[in-house]
Symmetry: C2
Subunit: 128 residues, 2 copies
DNA sequence: AAGTAAATAGTAATAATTACTGTTAAGAAG
DNA sequence: CTTCTTAACAGTAATTATTACTATTTACTT
């Protein structure tokens, strides 16, 4: 793992705060719109570049929707459930550390990221 | 769940066979190229339409790579590990049915699909 | 054998993402 | 504090995976 030197930038700082300001697992587009409220002339390329960098440095998680990519400011271990009907993402807890440890003992793979995404119908949508 | 009537088509049949012919978790582009060996003038739209349909009917799984979408002809329950270095996908087994059942008892969500993707470095790449 | 609509080929349009270019500014070194 | 290097930037163009559209074909029903 080589260390890469990162300079501070107001743009990256703001983007990180924007993503952390919500639990809604925002899309790039939403992040762009929100960040422009603080920095009106920020470039879309800057959004993409910094989101990638923040994921690479472990400060954000990246999810993949049906079509779009989404981000999550909560980097503690948790899984995701997405509702087919309303499209919302929920933070859930399914996979336990034991299962991963058991896998590590069986294989020689070095796990660096875990991404468990469930899909189905959420409680609210089941009622209607 | 409404039932949708599907007519047979040689194109869909061929696409399914192509995806099932490999364990390499092929991309749409690869599937397109391979299928054209059998049906030279098949349209890319036909590939996309049928892949979606085959996923919807549970005959294929859909994975999301860094950038691209991939498909898997093995629909039995298993998880996926992707190597950062060589980019290969491996079929692995981590999540057990018990964890999912435990989740079902705690929540009212109706789970319809489970997708666990791990990333890291594979055995071969660790050696080099 | 005739009627229907599902599926197709071919092409155009869309939209997420990346690449490029000239400029700005963070942070190190003198 | 001043100079220097280059990471990061804004703005724009290019790329590319995917979807939409249209006229035609064909699987399957009656």
């Amino acid at each position: 793992m080589e260390t890469i030197k990162h300079r501070y930038s107001k743009q990256r700082e703001t983007i990180l705060q924007v993503v952390r300001s919500t639990v809604e697992h925002p899309t790039v587009d939403w992040i762009y719109t929100e960040t422009r409220k603080d920095i009106p002339n920020i470039s879309l390329g800057t959004i993409y570049r910094n989101l990638s960098q923040l994921v690479a440095s472990g400060q954000l998680l990246k999810l993949k929707d049906e079509a779009m990519v989404r981000y999550d400011g909560n980097t503690g271990h948790h899984d995701h459930f997405r509702c087919f009907r309303c499209g919302k993402w929920f933070d859930v807890q399914i996979l336990d550390q034991k299962s991963i440890e058991a896998f590590n003992q069986k294989h020689q793979f070095e796990i660096r990221s875990v991404n468990l995404e469930l899909e189905g119908v959420c409680e609210d949508c089941l009622k209607t």
